[in-house]
């Protein structure tokens, strides 16, 4: 068999890439299938923009105004009456939505063996949102990874890029690269890292007129702090550590700080016209998905 007839793409020829691709091929369908299943639970009611504009679907006939070119008159309709009518189509302008899923190591945390890591839930939410939006005709991209496009092929691409990516740093800061001006943005992260990075990312996005949602994905263990005894806490990458003799005594203060962090994020989001919500991996993903979709739609 010659190289010319090899159906495989050139990137996959090296063994390493190939094994990774196969591993991806194994994980991709479940993630995609799960995202599709999650998305299918959301009833798609409003495809169009409910106003006249550019599009394929018929919207209404209106009497011709002065200034309408003769080409615009629908003669078939006009022939049935004395007035001239123009056939208007529904405006189907597509939005560009850019999704950022935090790839940092902190997202790999899971407080219980029975729960998936936060990253899994974040990816699932991001991809399900993408499925919904793509089905609605929007263009969806990944910040820094894939520019917004529409169509089903984009979904596969998004899934592949999402599964592919794991960051090296402990805590992530939102990326805004590839965000389309006046588009929409979705940031999925635990937002436990340095607030400055988050603020900066949000500010960059706001500068471009992007509006959107912040979804904080947390593990229940992070909300409850069920620890006791002499403990050394380490960040997932091991760059930060804190030792305590009695972890149980810290709970109240930790919870206070966490509430403060959420409050801060909510205020930040409000200031730039974004929406903020917290989602726990212990809860079903569906409610978060619905909320995010509605927030994206309603913010229009």
């Amino acid at each position: 068999m010659t190289a010319a007839t090899d159906p495989r793409s050139p990137d996959l020829r090296t063994p390493d890439l190939r094994t990774r691709a196969e591993a991806l091929g194994q994980t991709l369908p479940p993630l995609l299938a799960e995202a599709e299943m999650l998305a299918s639970t959301v009833m798609m009611g409003e495809h169009g923009r409910r106003r006249a504009g550019l599009g394929d679907e018929f919207w209404q006939y209106r009497p011709a105004h002065a200034g309408d070119s003769a080409r615009m008159i629908d003669w078939r309709r006009s022939a049935r009456s004395d007035a001239h009518f123009v056939r208007e189509r529904e405006w189907q302008a597509a939005q560009s939505v850019t999704i950022w899923v935090d790839p940092a190591k902190s997202m790999a945390f899971s407080g219980d063996k029975s729960r998936a890591p936060k990253a899994d839930r974040a990816k699932l939410l991001g991809l399900a949102l993408a499925v919904l939006l793509l089905r609605g005709g929007e263009r969806v991209g990944l910040a820094g990874l894939a520019s917004p496009r529409s169509g089903r092929a984009q979904l596969l691409r998004l899934a592949a890029r999402l599964s592919d990516r794991d960051g090296a740093e402990d805590y992530g800061a939102p990326e805004t690269e590839g965000m389309v001006s006046h588009g929409r943005g979705v940031f999925l992260s635990d937002f436990l890292g340095d607030l400055k990075g988050i603020e900066a990312g949000l500010a960059r996005a706001a500068d471009r007129g992007v509006k959107g949602v912040l979804i904080q994905v947390l593990d229940p263990a992070e909300e409850e702090f069920p620890f006791d005894g002499r403990t050394i806490f380490e960040s997932m990458g091991g760059t930060m550590r804190h030792e305590t003799q009695r972890a149980g005594d810290l709970r109240i203060r930790y919870l206070g700080r966490l509430a403060e962090r959420k409050d801060r994020l909510a205020r930040l989001a409000r200031a730039v016209g974004w929406h903020f919500s917290t989602h726990h991996t212990g809860a079903p993903a569906q409610s978060a998905l619905l909320w995010a979709y509605a927030a994206l739609e309603g913010g229009h």
């Binding site: 635990d190 005894g229 002499r230 403990t231 050394i232 806490f233 960040s235 930790y254």
Partner: protein
């Protein structure tokens, strides 16, 4: 060995390590528990938080204490601690272990056996030879053997139900040469003990082991002022203590029960205590024994013989209103003789018979009215004893002159005779010695007992048979005949001293006793017992348990009298001995027995049996240390906060266990047990087996019926459900067409109610297959095997028709399969079925077999252990091997076929038998 109070240490130098404990304390105190490392993204929020208290990085004091204790326990454990170390300097040379082995040893026999084994083990460890003797045995040669030869033999040793004796003979049987002795004494001073002790001390050191716990002995119950008195002795007489005496006996259904109970209170220092039990005569007469509750020795059991039974005696005299002198009254001497030992009723005949007396005495009553006669006859048939005395009235009447009167044993000659009077020839006649077979045989007639006047019996053919006492010239003095279950006795003289001096003599009282008219004194005299052979019926073992005497030979009355006076022995074990008319109890403790503590001369060391067992405590210390260490692990986990998951798992397991436990209890109460049993038994055909109480036999019977049920299901239209075990005392039998009854040796007799049920069952078409499981059915005839004997016992009360070995043409041989042989696990045994009504019946023409057993045989008896051949487990795999190889499997198959034939026979009745007539019927119909 280094000792510390009761503790000794095998490796004392290891205790020095205890010094290191304080150092350990300091070391442990400095090292806090290790932290857990956790990955936690929220650490970013924790940065900068300070702990409230900083001092907890020291180990808490209680954890330190726990660890120190654990290490201390380990150190002590490895130092080899021993409780009550044995410091005695062990001897050398042969060792004799003498154990009394009497009834008093039974209370602590396991301890004694343990002690003996320990002594043998110790001797073995030192290379000493050992001899073990039980002083209740007949003296024998004492042989010293190695300890290995004795090991294990002590466990099989049992105490005897009598006290040790023959000390002198034992002393003579001792071997020459030096040896040391350990004497395990029961603590009682048996006569002659000093001789043996002296002999033993002359051979070497003697060490005595005793149990200081008191020994209790129960004296035979007596009778005083209408109440039963019981007395008990104890040794040693210590502090005040109370014990219960229980009177036991059968209830009306024949089941042993506690009939009465009284508390005996020993005052402090008192060796003897007495109490009285007030019981109604009906209960009192049923008492079979008294038991000191809580004491498991033969001495704490006192068998009751007839002496407690107080008979009701009706004294009847016609014309009782006559005012005669007291001494001339015909009843005076009877009253004197009987009043101390019996309940007397006086009045007219009709009234007294209503009180159902045991004995009716008619003193010089010639005839009774028709109504009274009928009532008397009824009462006699049921087992009454009618004792009649002659007298002038009887002599003058014409009763029983021509033909025999039912109420008199013999015909009487008119007038009677007078000897030795002023107007007659000859001397007053003395009594002839009592002949063998007479109830009075063995009594000696005093020569001064003479008869001057008497009524005479007509010489009839059976006069000699009916005479139980005669004068020296052969004239009958007392005659007796049997009427139904009762008897009539006529004394041919008056009951007062008018005609003879008999009522004045002691012989009169003895004769009344022998006739079971009056009750005997508590302790039988030698003369009472002499001349008869007494057969043991029930014997006591050393633990006070009664058992059937079996084939023990009878003993001469003289020997029994000696045993009663001196206590039982190997030849006369304690128990109940039956003579011709009465039963005598031979108890370990007699009425006069005094329990005395053994006193040992100075110089003989006396050890206590129960105290100071040498016990190595190494294991206990080490496991205690281990437990502490496990606690330490848990505590450390808890301190480090890692116990959370563990407790969750444990609580989940607890909840699971509770859930698993709850439904079981709830489900058991669904239906009333009786209904459940009936529903289960009647839902379908169910084969049943009788529960014997032996779990192995019951399980095998259940498995056997299960296997047979499976085969029936496979091969026939009979589809039995799960077989059931049936308790014949409690369960309803009518539900089952067929009962399999495996007979076990020593099986108890069913109660009367159970017999009634069984007989009803047999009469109404049930079938019982008795299986003695001994492969040898000489059982029903010869009774050689224990199972056979048990079967005989059981079958006594059953309404079983005459039996015969199964004839070759019995319908059982062809109800389903054609069979010639009926093997179970064993082959070739006889199978017995109901005998054909007409053994001579000839086979009719054209009939394959005689028309026998039109009905179903109610019992089938054999010994082939069929259940074992049938037995399968739940999955149908046979449980017991039958025979060898293929032949064995063939035998099992035939056994199944027998079982199927049997069930077919039960379920179809005579239908199969009738089937043989079909050809004849068809022929007659002209087909």
């Amino acid at each position: 060995m280094f000792t510390l109070g009761p503790l000794g240490f095998a490796v004392p130098w290891l205790l020095a390590a205890l010094v290191a404990l304080p150092i350990l304390w300091l070391l442990l105190r400095a090292v806090p528990p290790a932290p857990i490392r956790r990955r936690f993204p929220g650490v970013a929020l924790l940065l900068g938080l300070k702990d409230d208290e900083a001092e907890t990085d020291k180990t808490p004091w209680w954890l330190l204490l726990l660890r120190t204790l654990a290490v201390g326990a380990l150190i002590l454990g490895f130092a080899g601690p021993v409780l009550n170390p044995d410091d005695r300097v062990a001897g050398t040379g042969p060792m004799l272990i003498a154990v009394d082995g009497g009834w008093a040893d039974a209370r602590d026999w396991p301890q004694r056996v343990e002690k003996i084994e320990a002594l043998i083990g110790e001797a073995g460890a030192r290379g000493r030879t050992v001899a073990l003797i039980r002083l209740t045995d007949a003296p024998d040669r004492v042989e010293f053997q190695t300890a290995e030869a004795w090991a294990g033999r002590a466990a099989g040793l049992q105490p005897q139900a009598w006290a040790p004796g023959a000390f002198g003979d034992w002393a003579a049987a001792l071997p020459e040469g030096r040896f040391d002795t350990v004497w395990l004494s029961d603590g009682l001073a048996h006569p002659g003990r000093e001789d043996l002790l002296a002999a033993l001390r002359s051979r070497g050191d003697v060490q005595v082991v005793e149990n200081p716990r008191p020994i209790l002995g129960l004296h035979p119950a007596g009778y005083a002022e209408g109440q039963v008195t019981v007395a008990a002795s104890r040794v040693p007489a210590g502090a005040a203590v109370s014990v219960d005496v229980v009177a036991q006996g059968p209830d009306p259904a024949g089941i042993e029960r506690d009939l009465g109970r009284v508390t005996l209170t020993f005052d402090a220092g008192a060796p003897k205590a007495e109490a009285a039990i007030d019981l109604p005569p009906e209960l009192r007469n049923r008492i079979t024994r008294f038991v000191l509750e809580g004491a498991r020795t033969a001495g704490a059991v006192s068998l009751a013989d007839d002496s407690l039974k107080r008979r009701k005696i009706a004294l009847i005299r016609m014309g009782a209103d006559q005012e005669t002198l007291q001494l001339l009254s015909p009843l005076h001497y009877l009253r004197q003789a009987l009043a101390p030992t019996a309940d007397l009723i006086e009045g007219n005949l009709t009234d007294t018979l209503l009180a159902s007396p045991d004995v009716v005495v008619l003193a010089d009553v010639a005839d009774v009215t028709e109504g009274e006669r009928a009532a008397l006859m009824d009462w006699l048939e049921k087992g009454g004893l009618l004792l009649r005395f002659a007298g002038p009235v009887l002599a003058a009447s014409d009763v029983a002159r021509v033909e025999e009167d039912p109420l008199l044993p013999v015909r009487l000659r008119e007038g009677g005779r007078t000897v030795g009077g002023a107007m007659s020839w000859g001397e007053p006649k003395a009594l002839a010695p009592f002949p063998e077979g007479s109830p009075f045989f063995g009594l000696t007639a005093p020569p001064d007992v003479v008869v001057r006047e008497q009524v005479l019996a007509q010489p009839d053919p059976d006069l000699a048979l009916r005479t139980i006492a005669a004068l020296e010239d052969g004239t009958p003095l007392m005659t007796r005949k049997v009427v139904g279950a009762g008897q009539v006795v006529l004394v041919h003289v008056t009951a007062n001293a008018e005609w003879s001096s008999l009522p004045l003599s002691g012989l009169f009282v003895q004769m009344l006793e022998r006739l079971a008219v009056s009750t005997k004194p508590a302790t039988p005299e030698a003369t009472d017992l002499a001349g008869q052979v007494w057969v043991p019926e029930v014997v006591l073992d050393a633990y006070g348990q009664t058992s059937d005497a079996g084939d023990l030979p009878g003993v001469e009355g003289e020997a029994l009298a000696k045993a009663v006076a001196e206590g039982p022995s190997a030849a006369n074990p304690p128990g109940l001995y039956a003579g011709s008319e009465r039963r005598v109890a031979l108890n370990v403790i007699g009425a006069e027995t005094v329990l005395e503590p053994a006193v040992w001369p100075a110089g003989v060391p006396v050890d206590s049996l129960d105290a100071r067992a040498v016990r190595a405590l190494k294991g206990e210390f080490l496991s205690f240390g281990l437990v502490l260490l496990i606690l330490d692990v848990l505590a450390a986990l808890w301190l480090a906060g890692r116990l959370r998951g563990l407790t969750r798992g444990v609580s989940a397991a607890l909840v699971l266990a509770l859930l698993a436990a709850v439904p079981r209890g709830a489900g058991a109460q669904e239906a009333a047990p009786d209904d459940a049993f009936a529903l289960e038994a009647t839902g379908s055909v169910v084969l049943a087996h009788v529960l014997t109480g032996d779990p192995a036999v019951d399980d095998m019977a259940q498995a056997g019926l299960l296997g047979l049920s499976d085969k029936l299901w496979q091969r026939t239209s009979v589809e039995p459900m799960m077989p059931m075990g049936v308790d014949i005392e409690k369960d309803e039998l009518a539900f089952f067409p067929f009962l399999y009854w495996p007979v076990v040796a020593g099986a108890a007799k069913p109660s009367d109610a159970a017999y009634a049920k069984l007989n009803q069952y047999l009469r109404t078409g049930g079938m019982i297959l008795f299986d003695t499981r001994d492969a040898d059915l000489t059982g029903f005839g010869g009774g050689t095997t224990p199972e056979g004997a048990a079967l005989q016992t059981i079958a006594e009360g059953l309404d079983i028709p005459p039996l015969e070995p199964m004839p070759a043409d019995h319908v059982l041989t062809r109800t389903f399969y054609l069979l010639q042989d009926f093997p179970g696990r064993y082959q070739g045994g006889q199978v017995w079925v109901e005998a054909s009504p007409d053994a001579e019946a000839e086979a009719a023409d054209g009939m394959p077999f005689r028309n026998l057993n039109d009905g179903v045989t109610p019992v089938v008896i054999g010994g082939a252990d069929w259940a074992a051949a049938w037995a399968t487990d739940e999955s149908g795999v046979p449980l017991v091997q039958v025979g060898r190889g293929f032949a064995g499997e063939q035998q099992r198959e035939i056994a199944y076929r027998f079982g199927i034939n049997l069930i077919m026979h039960v379920l179809t009745g005579n239908y199969k038998s009738d089937q043989v007539h079909v050809p004849a019927l068809l022929e007659r119909l002209g087909q």
